[in-house]
């Protein structure tokens, strides 16, 4: 079991900056996110868009801001649990908290900071009967390690950049690869689309355009065995497959946060504005996930909230003791 001073749920810009503010008070942080990468909305929705209201940056690309934050927090050596969806949060003895992920990772912390943004990024799922029963039994939505598909019969579905990129990567790895796309052509990334087409022409993969997923079949062991597809104007047929990877992007869902017994207001967590503590002492909420009078869902506001939260978390962990307030110009940034 991992132990840390503060467990931060959510690796968006606000969760990342919280590492810095906690670090200044010599509190060690462990950051968890359901996504395999850091950056939250900035990484998942708009990495290539410029942001104009970050103080000191007349313009900065969302992806670059995340890189800078990672650089800024590096001295504090935060731990990261990426690809870990936090599902459980419970009080344990000693006023501490047990944070648990869906995959069974357990973190013991003196305080918890929820920086969950708009919620967990969850995959958009196709509407197929029996899909849920095959999740983890052949159906996967996020590729963490492409090597697990070595030699396997893989069907990818989707028409966006990530479907094309993964098709190119898996072409080297999978034993048999099919890309299913509902439309007749690919709109994004003409270069990747051309390379996928070239691999298809060379017989290295099966490219099924104007084709819909119809149903999934399982074998006696309950694992995916085939995917039934239908190309426009043709009869449906079954494609033998070990894996189906639907890649239709991600969308945020509040998810487990709603079940932790915190006072909510229209799916945002209520906080007090002197320390951004929730209705439960020791649990703090900052960034897009919280609400209070005058709340603005801005990165800038989340950064401010992180600073006040850090002082609140310090007091909580140190039995009410007030941290000494010092400027970074005076102390510099020394790692933990």
């Amino acid at each position: 079991m991992l132990e840390t001073d503060v467990c931060i749920i959510g690796a968006g810009p606000v969760g990342l900056f919280a590492v810095f503010e906690l670090g200044l008070l010599r509190l060690k942080a462990y950051v968890m996110d359901t996504l395999p990468v850091v950056g939250g909305q900035l990484a998942e929705i708009y990495p290539k868009k410029p942001i104009y209201d970050i103080p000191g940056y007349p313009s900065i690309l969302a992806g670059d801001l995340i890189d800078r934050l990672m650089e800024q927090i590096a001295p504090f050596q935060p731990g990261f649990g990426l690809g870990q969806k936090v599902v459980g949060l419970e009080a344990v003895e000693g006023g501490r908290w047990k944070v648990q992920s869906e995959n069974g990772e357990v973190v013991l912390a003196g305080a918890v900071v929820i920086a969950g943004g708009l919620g967990c990024f969850e995959p958009r799922k196709p509407d197929l009967p029996g899909l849920a029963a095959l999740e983890g039994r052949g159906v996967t939505y996020m590729i963490r390690d492409p090597e697990v598909f070595r030699g396997r019969r893989v069907v990818l579905a989707g028409g966006g950049d990530s479907a094309l990129d993964w098709t190119l990567q898996l072409a080297e790895i999978a034993g048999d690869l099919t890309l299913v796309h509902r439309n007749s052509s690919f709109r994004g990334a003409p270069e990747s689309a051309a390379r996928v087409q070239a691999l298809a022409d060379a017989g290295r993969l099966r490219l099924l355009t104007s084709t819909a997923l119809v149903s999934l079949e399982a074998n006696a062991a309950g694992n995916l065995s085939s995917v039934t597809v239908q190309t426009q104007g043709q009869p449906a047929w079954s494609l033998e497959a070990d894996d189906l990877i639907p890649l239709y992007g991600l969308t945020p869902q509040l998810g487990p946060i709603a079940d932790w017994g915190l006072a909510l207001d229209a799916s945002a967590i209520q906080v007090q504005t002197d320390n951004f503590q929730t209705s439960v002492p020791g649990i703090f909420a900052i960034g897009d996930i919280n609400t209070y009078p005058g709340k603005l869902k801005l990165i800038l506001s989340g950064f401010h909230e992180a600073a006040l939260m850090a002082h609140g978390a310090y007091r909580h962990i140190h039995g009410g003791a007030k941290p000494s307030f010092k400027y970074t110009t005076v102390t510099g940034v020394s790692g933990l």
Binding site: Y46, R124, P126, D127, A157, T251
Partner: protein, 108 residues
């Protein structure tokens, strides 16, 4: 003031006819939100999240832009009628009326 009449069919199938003012540059997403429909509009109208998606049933409307088509193309259940509400200006409803369905596949 000019108005458009929009019949909105929500996820439960209930239809409601609403009047919205034109000339203020409002998008359909903003209009639906202001009428109290649960439109998340995560990206604030940048054609990047598809949480403002509707199914267009009737009424003349502007053609989708490339950005809108790119986003719609990534969805698992795109229909020929699918549109992003944030990309539709109320002024572009040149019939002055429309019928649309809120995305029924949306959870919660």
């Amino acid at each position: 003031m000019q108005e458009v009449q929009i019949t909105v069919i929500d996820a439960s199938g209930t239809a409601q006819e609403l009047a919205f003012p034109t000339g203020m540059g409002l998008s359909l997403m903003e209009a639906l939100k202001s009428a109290g429909y649960p439109v998340e509009a995560v990206c604030g109208g940048m054609a990047l999240c598809a949480t403002c998606r509707v199914e267009w049933q009737e009424g003349t409307v502007s053609e989708p832009t490339d950005a809108e088509l790119d986003m719609l193309d990534t969805l698992p259940d795109q229909q020929p009628t699918s549109r992003l509400g944030c990309q539709i200006r109320l002024e572009s409803l040149t019939d002055g009326q429309a019928i649309l369905r809120l995305n029924p596949s949306k959870k919660d």
